[in-house]
Symmetry: C2
């Protein structure tokens, strides 16, 4: 980890839960959508171990919402993604890569359908608000696009259901994956979705009034004491093990969905207009030259890259680069996401990476980290 100091200012927008994150020991932050996000509490390893066994409360206000509402809301939503959003029911969440007219990935939000003509995009780190406002203006669409007063708080970890059952009653156990309900916690209206940026299960609570943030936090926190609750945050070790890509780190505007394996979330040719249709049809027919793979390197923990590490094939040719890396206690290996030439993507293909002048050998294991 490359660690430095950061100075907070109004431009790095304060979250409603920020004082609780700090008082509970947030040691380091990142900036995401112009807002702080804790990245370490005790240590990446200790945070990971606790997350996999207990339950954590995460200030994920940085998952900013973009609200799209009005007569043309569905038209606009369909236009910006190849995924068929007409199939998204009210009360449902859908992961929907946003793809522009050149096939570039603008963001990869979770879309929440609040009503037939009303959506939230729970976004990754880019100003989707500005892009959508630009498109809607250019097309003269009858739609409002704005950032509502909404701030997600995540409950993640294997005890999440027990905790939220204590807070709201047994009906929370019936909420299916990627579905949400409207409810009230600490006397404030929230959406409660079964979702979150880990593979350990849990919920995201969408606070809709920032003045009620601390009351919401404290209510969950109190209820969580018997479950050994801690403050936490998206954890790099857990996300590598679970295989969650991060926009900005693993995926950028320069990438298309086929390179990143995101084509599994859509089928080309939905009936609605979408701006990426031609570009994606061309990528689908011509193929791509590089793809993201899972790359496992046994041995001691290596330092994650500042940006990237180069990747080499058995002949010694540079064939790609690592975008994210963490050492996994579960697999006793360094786990990487890496872009590599398509010819190097077969399972068990041997590749090495270069860290501070030394080469470290590993293997592609796209079918799961437990492949040997």
């Amino acid at each position: 980890m490359t660690v430095h100091q950061i100075v907070f200012s109004r431009r790095l927008r304060e979250t409603p839960f920020e004082s609780r994150a700090i008082s509970n020991g947030a040691k380091a932050f990142t900036i995401y959508n112009h807002m702080p996000l804790a990245s370490v509490y005790e240590s990446p390893q200790a945070d990971y171990a606790h997350l996999c066994e207990h339950v954590q409360l995460w200030d994920v206000s940085v998952e900013r919402q973009v609200e799209v509402v009005g007569a043309d809301a569905l038209l606009l939503m369909e236009l910006i993604t190849p995924r068929d959003l007409s199939k998204c029911q009210v009360g449902q969440c859908m992961y929907a890569p946003l793809v522009d007219e050149e096939g570039g990935i603008v963001n990869d939000p979770i879309v929440l359908r609040l009503a037939e003509d009303r959506f939230w995009l729970s976004i990754a780190d880019s100003d989707v608000l500005l892009w959508l406002r630009g498109v809607a203006f250019g097309r003269q669409m009858d739609v409002k696009v704005f950032e509502p007063d909404v701030h997600p708080l995540a409950v993640q970890g294997p005890r999440s259901d027990d905790l939220m059952t204590k807070v709201l009653g047994p009906e929370v156990r019936d909420i299916k994956f990627f579905r949400f309900i409207k409810t009230t916690i600490a006397n404030t209206q929230v959406l409660l979705a079964r979702s979150g940026w880990s593979g350990q299960g849990g919920f995201e609570i969408y606070l809709q009034d920032r003045s009620q943030g601390l009351a919401l936090w404290d209510t969950i926190w109190e209820a969580g004491q018997e479950f050994n609750i801690r403050a936490g945050c998206p954890n790099s070790i857990e996300r590598l093990e679970t295989g969650l890509l991060s926009y900005g780190s693993d995926i950028t505007l320069a990438n298309n969905p086929y390179e990143c394996g995101l084509d599994r979330f859509f089928k080309l040719g939905k009936s609605a207009e979408y701006m990426s249709r031609e570009a994606l049809e061309e990528f689908a027919s011509k193929g791509v030259t590089q793809k993201i793979v899972h790359l496992k390197l046994p041995g001691d923990a290596l330092a994650p890259p500042r940006s990237t590490y180069p990747v080499f094939n058995v002949k010694g040719d540079e064939v790609g680069f690592v975008t994210s890396m963490a050492w996994s206690p579960k697999f006793q290996a360094n786990l990487c996401f890496a872009f590599v030439a398509v010819s190097e993507t077969l399972p068990a293909n041997e590749l090495s990476i270069e860290v501070e002048g030394k080469r470290f050998a590993g293997k592609v294991c796209n079918l799961g980290w437990s492949e040997s």
Copy 2:
């Protein structure tokens, strides 16, 4: 200053000069356009004192460029700002607030006109690239909009002309304010503009090949030894004294140009189409309810706010909020930018701010900080 730790990752994009900023003592950073920007070297006070007397080299790669090129380039550029860009000559820079169809400020870049049909927007902290691509797509404009491989390096301070004369010859003294030339430094092509985010004079050097960043830095650095050059960064004390507003801290999308005093940079009614015309005409005729003022509070240094401090009038009514603050050695006072009700904006109007439960009194001094 609220100081925490930050973890760098690929998403917080590495600058071409980053290793030099760090090796020269950058102590703290902020994140700006998804990229690190140093915010403190020795201390805000020591950095300020050196900047006002000598010359500094600033890694301002975070001033990302958005390139707009093609048959419809001027059409698009005119559409997004009320400023008349037809008057911007090739080789000229213009400060141009970008304003949307509701009158909200999207960004406040410096526009550089590289050719009749080619512009760079040297942007503040928001994804202008996405907004412009959205508008251009929606309008089906014949234009390319992208982020080029360009990374500004600033030379700021009273010895800037002496330093750049040593590097390039006496002709640099003839470059007028907000004009640029094409030249070569350290065998790499650059644009050299007389501009920069301080009131101490200087240049911005637009590197156009990131692989040449360290060579460019080292060439300027070597030449600067006799002028007592140091690495530096935009300095909060200097920018308050000089009166430079910061997008995100002082101005946001929720603000219109009249509130921020940015209407002095344009005259409504240019002949080209601009999307903010109706909204701005309405603000101009109806007036606004709040405005940014300069507010000076004599006495000891107060801690700058995490986000804002409330502002009160002499009757004790809350009438606004501080957006930026720094203690000025020159004026022996805390200097603030603050949004306040229009009725409270007269010069010498008495206002107070609340910091940690205590009130501190000061006066509006819009005609210059030296007003008493």
